[in-house]
Every structure is written in C-alpha cells, then in structure tokens.
Assembly symmetry: C2
Amino acid sequence: MYCTYNHDSCRRQVLKSPAFYISRESGGSLVEQIVQAVASRIDDKLLRTGARMPSIRQFADEQGVSRFTVVEAYDRLVAKGYLESRRGAGFFVRERASMLSQPAPVKPQTADTQQMDVVWLVRNMLRQMPPHKMPGSGVLPHDWLDGDLVANGLRAISRLNQNLLLHYGTQQGFLPLRQQLQLKLAELEIAAAPEQILTTSGVTQALDLVAREFTHPGDTIFVDDPAWFLMFGSFAIFGTKVIGIPRLHDGPDVNKLAELAAIHKPKLYITNSVLHNPTSTSLSAAKAFQILKTAEQFNFLVVEDDVYCDLHPGSAVQSATRIATLDQLNRVIYLGGFSKTLAANLRVGFIATSPELAIRLADRKMLSTLTTTEISERVVYKILSEGHYRKHVDRIRVRLDSVRDGICKRIESLGMKVDYRTPAGMFLWTETGTDTNKLTEQALEQGYLLSPGSLFSPNQLPSTRMRINIASMSDPGVWDFLERAMR
Amino acid sequence: MYCTYNHDSCRRQVLKSPAFYISRESGGSLVEQIVQAVASRIDDKLLRTGARMPSIRQFADEQGVSRFTVVEAYDRLVAKGYLESRRGAGFFVRERASMLSQPAPVKPQTADTQQMDVVWLVRNMLRQMPPHKMPGSGVLPHDWLDGDLVANGLRAISRLNQNLLLHYGTQQGFLPLRQQLQLKLAELEIAAAPEQILTTSGVTQALDLVAREFTHPGDTIFVDDPAWFLMFGSFAIFGTKVIGIPRLHDGPDVNKLAELAAIHKPKLYITNSVLHNPTSTSLSAAKAFQILKTAEQFNFLVVEDDVYCDLHPGSAVQSATRIATLDQLNRVIYLGGFSKTLAANLRVGFIATSPELAIRLADRKMLSTLTTTEISERVVYKILSEGHYRKHVDRIRVRLDSVRDGICKRIESLGMKVDYRTPAGMFLWTETGTDTNKLTEQALEQGYLLSPGSLFSPNQLPSTRMRINIASMSDPGVWDFLERAMR
C-alpha cells in the first residue's frame, strides 16, 4: 500500500495501523524514520496513552522492513519515553503528561539593581546569547576560536585504545599534558616538574580548591579591586572575608597592600599579574618583588591567576612579570587554563605549586570531584604538543590588535574614557560617567549583556565603570545603544 | 644521498647535518618522522643544547621535502620543547636538563596499617593497575564495559556544529540529557522536571555540593556503616562530624537512626538505598517509610545516592524501594551517575531535587566549577536516547549473575563468609575472620589491591570484613593468594 500522493521519486509506504510514511530514499535511516514518525503521532495525540503498538512482527510485515529494524526503533522509543515495554504483553504508548515540558525560552533574566549580583551575571553569561549581543562577555566569540582543533582532537581520541575512555583519569591529571605545561611554564622561566602540576576543571575549580585548602570561615582573602567577580560569590559562601586591593596601571597599590595586610592578616592574595581582568594591565617587576616581600612579611600565599597568559604579546609591548618567575613556586601558587583561548567547554585548567602543596591540592581535588576528565586533557595535550596552539593564539593576538585601537577611539568619541589605553588583551576598562548598573538594565531590555563595574568591585558598590570585550563589539546595535545612552 | 644499507624497499635518505633517516613509505607522515628523528637525536645527546638547526630552506633541500613540511616539524619540536626559535636567528636546540624527567613507575604505594586511610585507598584506586589485580576495585573492568559506545559518541559530537565545543555549557547541564534523566526517574516513579535536575562531575561532585550547601563546620552528617569511604575524607576536611548508622539486610537500623538523630541533630543522612556499597543490599519499603518519618521528626535531609541503580534487576529479584519514590523530592535529594555503568572518565553524574534546592545547588556548582563539560553530557545523552544504554546494562547484569554464585561458593570454600548472599550487584561483603588491614598489606606486596573493611567504617577501626568486586576475580593469582592467606 503506497503513499496516496503516489510520488514516484519517494515511493512512500503507508502503514495500516498507525498510518504514517517511511521513505527508503530520504535522508534518515529507516530506524530513525520510524522513531520520528511514531514520536510525532504520539506528540500530536494521534496515538493515545496506553494504546498497544503493533507487534514487532506485524509492524515489520506491514512496513516491509526487517524485524531487527522495528526492534531497534521500538527500543529507541522506549529510551525516549514514548513507549513502554510490558513483559509478555508488547509495547504500549506511555503516559507523557507534561513530562517533556519545553524549557522556558532562553532569554536574559531581568534584574533590578538590587538583584544584579555576581550569580546573576554569571547565570546570564552562561545563557548562550549570541556572542555579538554580549559586549560584557568574558570569552571570545566562536568565530575567534577554532572548533576544528577541538573536533579533530575528539576524533583522534575516539580512535585510540578505548579502555582509556572508560577508566578514571589519574589523580593529578594526564601526565603528558602536565609535561607540556612544564614546558609552557619553562618559557616563563618558572621551573615546575610534572609532579608539581595538577589539572583542574578550569581556573574556577583551581580557585575553589586553593581557597578551600588554605582558608577557614572567618579568614580574609585579598583580591584585586576591580577583579574577576565569580570569586567574590564563591568565597562569600565559604564564609571568608574578601578585601580588595586597588589596582593601578602596573599592578596593585603595594602600600595599600602592606597596610591592609598588617590589619587583616590575609591567608591568600589572588591576583591576575598579566592582562588583569578587567583592566588588561600587567605587573611590573618592581611591584612583583614588592608583593612577594609583603607576602613574606605577613606570611600569606600569593595565588597568581594567569589565565590570560597567552594573549600577552611579550614584554616588548607591555612589561609583564609573573610573580612565580621571581618566587619559583615557593610562596606563589600559579593558575592557568584554556577556557579563554581554546574552548571553555573542555574545562581544562591547572595549578602549579610546590611539590608539597601539589599533593595536598591533588588530594583535595580527589575528594571533591575524584578526577577531571582525561578526554578533555588529551584533547588539550594534542593541540599543544602538535604546535597548533601556538599558532592559534598568535592569530587571536593579531586579530585583537587589529580591532583594539579602532574600538578605543570609537568609545572615546562617545564621551566614554578608556582607562589605561592598554596595548594588549581582550578587555577595555571604561569610564562612562553614568551609573553602569542602570545602563546594564537598559541594555538588557534591548537584548544586550553588559558588565557593569559594580560586579568587579569586591563590595559591589554602584560604579560608573564598565568592562568591554573588544572581540564582541561587531554588532551595530551595540554601538547604537551606547550612542543613545551616552548622549 | 641514500641510506647506506641501500634498501630498495624503503629508499631511506640520509640527512647531511644532522644525519638521520626519513622514509616516504613507512607509517608516519614526513612531519612526524622528522619530529621523531630530531627528538631522538636530542634525547640521545647527539645534538647538543644550544646547537643551531639547519635553516628551513637548507633542511628542506637536503631532505628533498617541502619547506612547509620542515616548518611544521620545527613548530612541533618547539611545542614539544626540543627547539626554540630565536627571532631572526633561526632554531636552536633547547636546554632540557631534567625537564621531561620520566615519572616514577606506576606501582601501588606501600602502606602500613596506620597510613591506610581513605586518601591512600582512593589514590591506589586511581593508579590504573590492571583490573584483574584489583579485587578491591569499585568499578567494572574495561572488558565489562563498552568503549565503542563512548568512542562513537565522541565521533558523533565532533561532527556536530563546532561552536558547541567552544562555549561554556549551561549552568544546570545539557537540557536534552536532563530530559532523558527525567524519563529515567519517571521509571522509578519519581517525578522530576528538567528544571529539578542538574548535572555534576560524577556523584562525587554531587555529594560535595550537597554537603557544602547544607552543612557548616561542626554539623553532623549521618552515613551508613559500612559506606563508601571517599565521603568520610571529604566531609572530615569540611569539619563536619560523620556518624555511621548500622546497615542491615534491608536498610539501616531505623531504631538506631532515630536514637542517634535525637542526640546528634544531623543535617543530612546519606544512604545507598539500592545495591548499597559495599553490601549490595537494598532498602525495603517499610524502612524507606521509617527513614522519612525520622527525617521529618528530626528535620534532616535524606541524600539518596543511587549510583548502582541500573545494576538492580528489579524488585522481583530483590525488593528495593527508593526513598524519593515515596517522598517525591521533597525532603530527599536523589543522586545518580554513569561512572559505574558507562565510563568513569566521562565524569557525568546528576542531582534531582526540589525546584528551589535545584537553583541553590546549581548556583553552588557554578561558583565551584562554573559548568560541567557538555561534551561528556552529549555523549551520555546520545547513548541513553538511542537505547544503547538499556541493552548495555542488561548485558552487565546478565554477566554479573553468571559469575556471582560461583564466586560466592569459592569464597565460602576458603572459610570466608559472604554477608547477605545478595542476588544482585557487583559487590560481596565478606567476613574473613582475620584483620583485613594486614591482609591488604600482604596482598599489596604481591601486587593486588584489596578493600579492607576498615575503610568502609566511618571510624576506620580495624575490621575482619572485606569488599570483593565479583567482576574482578578472574585472576588465578588472587585466588592463590586468598587460599594461602585463609589457610
């Protein structure tokens, strides 16, 4: 019995009960077509809950397909929740009342100024709005990154001995990756044996582990002011006190650091030495030395979050010193990762520290998440060891350089100021002269996500500053909005 | 200039400076061969540190390969740390003194009875000894799992729109996977909308998030006694007090639960209701009801860790009630995952809870690790939704059933007792009549990893019990060892 339209080209067959079409020449496999056809009839209530499906044999005969095909299709329909199998009695359409309720459409959460906190911004960041609608985003848009690198890596790994996909990874992370990281650190003149390095689920987990290992509720943690906001929320829920050290063009205000350290006796000072988020400034050698001296005097650890490392063009362009290069992982815990430059979804970051602290942090990691996924770690290893990574970040830097000046000028022409006029990095830290919490609310109404200055402040006071991602300023609508707002 | 051996078949060419072989017909690409050849000469000190490499043009001409090939090879050698590029001056052999020191050979850490603690066992677990050498292992050996499923999943994902590989996942985890989990829970008669479900990096992270969200240092957490040991270490470092509730054949001793709850006012009770680790016993409906009543009376949350769910054959074989089936995620937080049944390396677990607690836990997850990797979540989704998972766990159950009785009998013939003689699951909880810490030390000397009873006890007292993984008892050496030890 054929399709009533009787197309020669497709020779669709019509099933007696229930009636639908399967084409041997269309794109999907027969199994997929049967699954699709039965599923839509159930979705459309053409097959009611509790109805008995034709037996496998009956279905196969009526459709002129093999029983194996039907078994496979029914199995998938069971897995998808459309059918249930009752032993000995056959397959039945299943109760799906509101079970697959569609999620609410992805739209930014509205926020009044009170609600606009860290958790709110990070939630919005993760909402996967189109990147050109997110001048406040902390990551590079897709088309600045290289999906092929990651896809090729996954394919290569799928062809290796499959046992490695099944077992737990190792406690510290995939050893060849840690050997690559050793080389990366050696280029920064930081000596770290693989035993001193452990992988983490991004720099976020690295910070979480470090804070949990070295602080107790009630302790004080120093951060930069401004600084990466996720930390404030994370440390606040531990019950630690977070205090900001003002950030200047070449690093923190070291006098203030010493003064506050004497008062608060912090356990940790967390800083981006290079391409600081949000200012894109980097640390001078003199300040790096001062920080270490202060850390020794008041006995705190320095956590150097160097996640923007590979966007830095070298000290000929902007002087930049890693504190760990002076200290050699004695008092400094160095963090890095690949979410910014390679792929956030791989979730690969790392900690480099003294052998003794590496053991403590690896045990802490084990108790928190057992291991990180070696699959991602092998992808990163492959991209690093084959030399692709170096070329890839070179391309990103060139592209950032090609847009930075133009965006700076255009922003200044709107009456905003760019702090520090940085020659490197992906962020501009701007002074708008207006409350950026309000600006952010207005932008959200038009579907744009900004990063108001209040978020980067450890005390989250209203601010007239705003962080701009220069890779996400291609949408004319963003400029229209800013033009109207700054008028 | 050709190979001095002058093999016709390979026509190897000898490079003038430095001299090595490249074959156009062997397995690897030309680039890989050059990389390999240069790297081994450096490793063998035939090329000394600081030596200048031939220019790209010179190398290409001498080898009869394209310059592109040489550029690529030199780039990889730079990435691997063998060469460094000095702008304008060319490529030089780099200082590698002890940089790639080989890691110590993977061998189990020796332990005296004092040191044998949770961290020690988990470290050894992760050491990737051959599975048949680990009768104490908590996971199934590779050949019981299906690497093809995971490899196919990775390949399929590498062919999707690559943008999804680059961005962060969503806060709660990949939505279609959460919809699949909704179906999985519906089969257990637990109603959970996708909004009530969040993915985690294994059940380990799920427990970590729950404990951090709902307890403070000084609070008390109840666990089963015996129970999964990783928790004890994890909670101890929070500063929470961990108290064990004796586990009987059909669940905990509920009188003891009520009695201790009155004294200690716990915040959480964490339990495996089904196929409890290590006893493989499951909860009766009556006890599930008693637990809930006690939890209400003393106002604590029940955390139901159901990671062995899919190894359970149904209540016709062993009666089994999920507490969440009675309570419907009101007071019960339900945890599950795929490390035991699919692949530990994917690191996919999940939490199902009330809508309100789901938001709190998702925020907590975001502040700890930002997101989990959607790559793994998509692999699990694919395997679930295409019906492969169901068949795969069916096969595992059949195989476990096929070995369980034989192993029980053989163990009993050695004079050991099997507690509960469970009809399901992968673990036997045995009584050896001898101190199993000592037994474990002896076994380690011969390269076998056991799980002594002390590890499963919240107070880690010496014990005569031991957990045996029935899927890891195929090595005759294990039996020889036990025979001699039990004599």
